[in-house]
Amino acid sequence: MKIKPRTFSDYASIGFPAGMLMVFFVIPFGIMIAVSFFQRVQGAFYEPAFVFDNYARFLTSFFGGILGFSIGLAALVAVVSVLLAFPFTYILTRMARRTQVVWLVFLLSVLSLSEVLIGFGWSTLLSRTAGISNLLVAVGILDKPMSLSPSFGAVMTGMVYQTFPYTVLVLFPALSRLDPSLVEVARTLGSGPVRSFLNVVVPALRNSIVSTLIMVFVFALGCYLLPQLLGKPSHWTLSVLITDQAIYQSNMPFAAAMAVFLVLVSLSLVAISLLYGKKENAA
């Protein structure tokens, strides 16, 4: 029943959101892009100019390594989150409505836990003096308590913890709309529960899985607090360095250049996986 917009008032309804987004999103982001070409003034700030120095500085093996690490970390977080959340959400959607509601309220509430506190919570849980390793000692798995944070594992744990509820919430609609008879039919055809999960549910929802992976990936790429709170400097991501440059070094042009680069990289990864997904679909 869609019609072509005609009258002024038809257009007015999109005018407001479009205007808001232009003014308050496109312009600020445009400023950042402009700043990324400005001239850095050593020991001070920057001057308007049009130079590529900031991009040139970024193109070193050092930053390449960090970019690689950031992408790898974000990808790993996305994969682990989805690996955990997918079967979990599948089970969740098959539970009684009441149970679902309890879990959903719980997960939504975890969302309101601030990042600092997540970092603090996990650094405590992974610490030598008050952490989980003491429990492991108590049950005799470990000889003496050990410090598990900061470490790569701690960063992963914290980030997966943070992304897990989002992942569940993103997967939830697709999984709960999945036709249960697909699994039942697979069972009448001889697939056990695990097998039918793997070769029916997972492939049938491949597109949802890909888009969820992308979403978590993008989210994790922007994460700058947890790697600092739970990781060693070698686990810092590009977002941490961007924050550093912008805030501690007052080097906005360089920070902006790194950010533009990061956005480009994540957008192209997103585009590639979407293209790939499309192709698979068409085949």
Partner: protein, 268 residues
Amino acid sequence: MINTFILRLFLGTIALFMAAPLAVVAGVSFNERKSLSFPPEGFSLDWYAQIFTEDSWRSALFNSVGVAVGASSLAVVVAFPLAWFLWRFHAPWARIVQVLGLAPFILPPVITALGFLSFWTTAGAYGQAWTVVISHGIFFVTLPLVTLTLGFEAVDDSLVEAAATMGADDRTILRTIILPLILPYIISGMAFAFVLSLNEYIVAYMAVGFTVETLPIKIFNSLRYGYTPTMASVTVLFVAIAVVVFGLIARFGDLPRLLGAWRHDDDS
């Protein structure tokens, strides 16, 4: 039948995993001394009292809630006409606006923050309390946009057409049919934006960090001079508020449905 033991183990592990940091934070909030020791030393509710008795925490709490209310309302106000337009009209170019609405969430938050910093200083409004409301409103517009788009899709076209045959024009239809039907989606989009705004740090910090101290900023500032259990108790309070808010939504609406499940019962 699925092996129920493995199933329970899996669910239990997830529950434990999700609850563990909450438990630490909650435990710490009961410390008797001003320290974030865990397990807690002694028991005291002072830190909860402090949220309300100490001016700076209380005002930070109110600031945060105020900003979150404003920002989530703004996000809805921006998202609603956009989602409505996309649903009502056939206009391919409007997709561009839709992508703009989805984009803020995709950028790294630092960049959004710096962009806003430059923007507000250039605009000469830097430091005004309302700028953070707009910044957050735009930053989180994606959430109501997504839920509202879902919601509009769920409105049966024939309801609108039926109303038209009975003499309702666009505006009347919007008021008497669409709004009541879409209300749950408005609420859930707003709730998401609200909760995220409540916890957002870097954008708020860059936009108005020095004039309006929101809770995350307050927590950060106190990070510099020693964790205080108040930040844990505030967090516990937040989580409790979230439980109540989402619990109410679940009680009066159909939460799974709002989150995207089809409604199986009650087919009309």
